[in-house]
Amino acid sequence: MLQATGLSKSFGAHVALQPLTLTVSPGEVFCLLGANGAGKTTTINLFLDFEPRSGGSATVNGLDVAQHSLETKRLLAYIPEQVNLYRNLTGLENLTYFQQLSGQAPMGREQLLQLCDRVGLPKGAADKRVSDYSKGMRQKVGIAIAIARQARALLLDEPTSGLDPQASNEFSAVLNDLREQGVAILMATHDLFRAKETGTRIGIMKHGAMVDEFAAADIGHTDLEQLYLRHMRN
C-alpha cells in the first residue's frame, strides 16, 4: 500500500533522509522510531508530497505521490502530532468539513456522532467549539476524521505525544481496529511502549537513515528499549 524505494531528501548540503526503502502492506502498522531530526517527519512529508523529493520514489497503492499528488492524498489520512482544528467551529463541524473535503459522500449528523463516540470523544463535546478542547480530544477528532474519510492508509506523526496514558490506550485501540480492517499505517513516534503495543513492524531511524528494521512480535519491551538506546549511542 505504502512503498518507498530509495527515497531521499536533502536541504542544500544537509541530508535529511538517506535513500530509504520500506513497504507498509494493508493491515500492517509500521512504526518509525528515532530521535528528533532522524528523518521520520521528512518521510511522512514525502509521502504527502508536501516537499519535493531529492531521489527515489514514494508510492501509495502503486501511484507515485509526486505524479499523482491529489489522487494519492485521497487514499491517505494524516494525523500530525498536534491535530489542528478550526477553533471557531465545533468538533462536529470540523469533522463534517474535513469529511466533505475528502470527496466522500456527506455523512449525516447521527453517523458523525457515532464516529465521535467510537473514538471516545466525551458525550456532548461534539457540539462544543474546539477552542475548549484538550489535546487528547483534538487527537480523537483527528482519528474520527481519518475513519470518516475511509482512508486506505494512515500517516501518523507522533500522534500520542502529550496524551495521557488512558487517551494513548484508547488511541491504540482505535488503531488496532483500523489495522484489522486492512488499513496500512505508518506511524512516526518516540513512544517505544506504544510502538511495541501497536506496531507490526518497527524501524529505527538515525541521522536520516533506517539503521534497523524488525517485526514487533520478534522483540520484547525491554529488548526494544535496549536496542533503541544502543542505536542512539552508536
Binding site: F50, L70, K73, R74, Q82, N84, Y86, E93, F98, G103
Partner: protein, 469 residues
C-alpha cells in the same frame, strides 16, 4: 466541495468577534455617510432650485433699463447636484457650484463649501466614497490576511492539503467565503443607499452610471482580495501577512495619492489665481501676446464697420455702433478667455492623465478617479458645466448687445429695454454629459482597474499553486 469551503469560511468569519465588530463599525460609518450624503443632496438640490427660480425671477422682473446695464446685472448659474454626488462629492467642495454670468467677464465659481468648512474638516470629510475606497479594503485585509498564513501557522492548512484538495479550489472557496462576509456589510449598505436616495432627483443621474460604478467597485474589491490572498499565501504567519497587507494598504491608499499629487503638480504646474488673472488682464488690455492694444483694435473695428455698411461716418450707420462695439468687446474678451482657459484646461487634462496612469502603482487612484467621474463631480464635468454656463453667458450678452445694435440707433446707452427682452432670453438649463462621454475621458483608469483585478486574480492562482503547507 467548493460550497463546503465557502460555508466554512463564512461561518468562521461570522463567529470571529473582531471581524463582527469591524463589520458593524464599517456598516455604521457607511450607513451614516450615505444618509448624511443623501440629506445634503436633498438640501442642496432644494436650495439650488429655490435660488435658480429666484435669480430667474429677478432677471425677468427687472425694471426698464439699458440692455448693457442688464448685462452687468447678470444672472447666476447653478450646477445641479447629481444624485450620485451623495456617494462622492469629488472636487465640488473645492471648485464651487455657482457662477455669476455678467458682461465682459468669465467669472470664477463661487460658494465653495470648503471655504465654509471648519478647521476639523482639514483632516478630510468622511464620505461614502472614502469609506468604500479606503475602509472597505481594510475590512478585506482583516477578513483575508489569515486565509492561508493563519491556517499555515495553526497547522490546519497542512491538514486540508493532506486531504487532496486542489489548492485552486481551496483559494476560490476562501475568496468566495470572504466575499460573502463582505456582502454582510455591502449588501445592507447598498439597500440603505437605495433607500437613502429614494426621492432624490433621478433625472440628474443616468442609471448606467450607477451600474458602471458598481462594476468598478467589484473590480476594485477583487483586486484587494487578490492582493490580500497573495500576501497570505506567501507569508509564514498571520502576523506577517497582516503587517504586509497593512503596509501595502498604507502605501497605495495613503502615500501614493499624496505623492502623486506632488508629482502631478511638479510635472504640469498650474498658475496661481493671481498670475492667471494678471495674464488675462494683460491680453485683454494689450491684445493676445501684445498684438493690438485697445485703441488700435477700436480703430480697426471702426474701419471694418464703415466698410461693411459702406458709409464714411459712424453717424451714418443704420444701427447703433455702441451695440456693435460692445459685441466686438465681448468677442475679443471671449478670445482672450478661450486662449487662457484652453491652456489651463489642457494642463488639468494632462494632470488627470498622469494621475490616472499612476494607477499602475495604486488601484486607489483609478477607483478615486472613476468614482468622481461617475458621480459627476470630477474636474472634466466641472469644466463641462463651466463651458455650458459660459455658452449661455455669451448667448445672453449677444442678445443684450443685439438689442442695442438694432434698437438703440441714436440713443445708444440711453436706450431702455423692458420685460419683453428679459423674458425673451430662455432660462439657463444644463444637461450632464452621458456615461459614454465620461468613459471616453477615463479609459486609462478603467483599463488599469481591470488590469489590477485580473492581475491580482492571476497572482492568487499563481501563488496558491506554489503554496507550501
Amino acid at each position: 466541495m467548493l460550497t463546503t469551503i465557502v460555508r466554512k469560511e463564512f461561518t468562521e468569519t461570522m463567529r470571529d468577534g473582531r471581524v463582527r465588530t469591524a463589520a458593524i463599525a464599517l456598516l455604521l460609518l457607511l450607513g451614516g455617510s450615505l444618509l448624511y450624503g443623501a440629506r445634503q443632496t436633498r438640501l442642496l438640490a432644494a436650495e439650488r432650485d429655490t435660488a435658480r427660480q429666484l435669480t430667474r425671477a429677478h432677471w425677468v422682473t427687472q425694471p426698464p433699463k439699458g440692455p448693457h446695464s442688464a448685462a452687468h446685472y447678470g444672472i447666476y448659474a447653478f450646477k445641479p447636484r447629481a444624485t450620485l454626488a451623495t456617494l462622492d462629492d469629488g472636487v465640488d467642495p473645492y471648485v464651487g457650484v455657482t457662477t455669476w454670468l455678467e458682461a465682459h467677464k468669465q467669472n470664477e465659481f463661487q460658494f465653495r463649501p470648503a471655504q465654509d468648512a471648519t478647521s476639523a474638516q482639514r483632516f478630510g470629510a468622511l464620505t461614502a466614497a472614502t469609506t468604500l475606497q479606503l475602509l472597505v479594503p481594510l475590512l478585506i485585509v482583516l477578513l483575508g490576511f489569515s486565509a492561508f498564513a493563519g491556517e499555515r501557522e495553526q497547522g490546519t492548512l497542512r491538514q486540508v492539503l493532506s486531504l487532496g484538495v486542489k489548492p485552486t479550489t481551496l483559494g476560490t472557496g476562501k475568496a468566495l467565503g470572504i466575499a460573502a462576509g463582505l456582502g454582510v456589510v455591502l449588501v445592507p449598505a447598498t439597500v440603505l443607499g437605495v433607500v437613502a436616495m429614494t426621492g432624490l432627483d433621478r433625472t440628474t443621474t443616468d442609471m448606467s452610471r450607477v451600474a458602471l460604478l458598481i462594476v468598478c467597485y467589484l473590480a476594485y474589491y477583487i483586486a484587494w482580495l487578490g492582493l490580500t490572498l497573495t500576501i497570505s499565501a506567501f507569508a509564514k504567519t498571520g502576523r506577517v501577512a497582516l503587517a504586509g497587507s497593512l503596509g501595502v494598504w498604507m502605501l497605495v491608499s495613503v502615500l501614493a495619492p499624496r505623492f502623486m499629487t506632488d508629482v502631478v503638480r511638479t510635472m504640469h504646474p498650474t498658475p496661481s489665481a493671481a498670475v492667471f488673472a494678471a495674464a488675462m488682464k494683460r491680453d485683454m488690455d494689450g491684445g493676445i501676446d501684445g498684438h493690438g492694444g485697445a485703441d488700435e483694435r477700436e480703430k480697426q473695428f471702426e474701419q471694418a464697420v464703415l466698410q461693411k455698411y459702406n458709409v464714411d461716418l459712424l453717424s451714418q450707420l443704420p444701427v447703433s455702433f455702441a451695440g456693435l462695439s460692445l459685441e466686438e468687446g465681448e468677442r475679443h474678451g471671449n478670445e482672450v478667455y478661450d486662449t487662457h482657459f484652453a491652456a489651463l484646461w489642457a494642463t488639468f487634462a494632462k494632470q488627470e492623465r498622469v494621475r490616472e496612469l499612476a494607477a499602475v502603482f495604486s488601484p486607489v487612484l483609478a477607483m478615486r478617479s472613476l468614482s468622481m467621474a461617475l458621480a459627476g463631480t470630477d474636474v472634466a464635468q466641472h469644466l463641462h458645466f463651466q463651458q455650458a454656463s459660459e455658452a449661455y453667458r455669451r448667448t445672453l450678452m449677444s442678445a443684450m448687445n443685439g438689442e442695442i445694435t438694432t434698437k438703440a440707433k441714436g440713443k445708444d446707452f440711453e436706450y431702455k429695454a423692458d420685460g419683453a427682452l428679459w423674458s425673451s432670453v430662455a432660462p439657463f438649463t444644463y444637461e450632464a454629459p452621458s456615461v459614454s462621454w465620461v468613459v471616453q475621458r477615463h479609459v486609462p483608469a478603467l483599463l488599469l482597474l481591470g488590469v489590477w483585478a485580473l492581475g491580482m486574480m492571476m497572482m492568487v492562482v499563481w501563488s496558491i499553486r506554489r503554496m507550501t503547507p
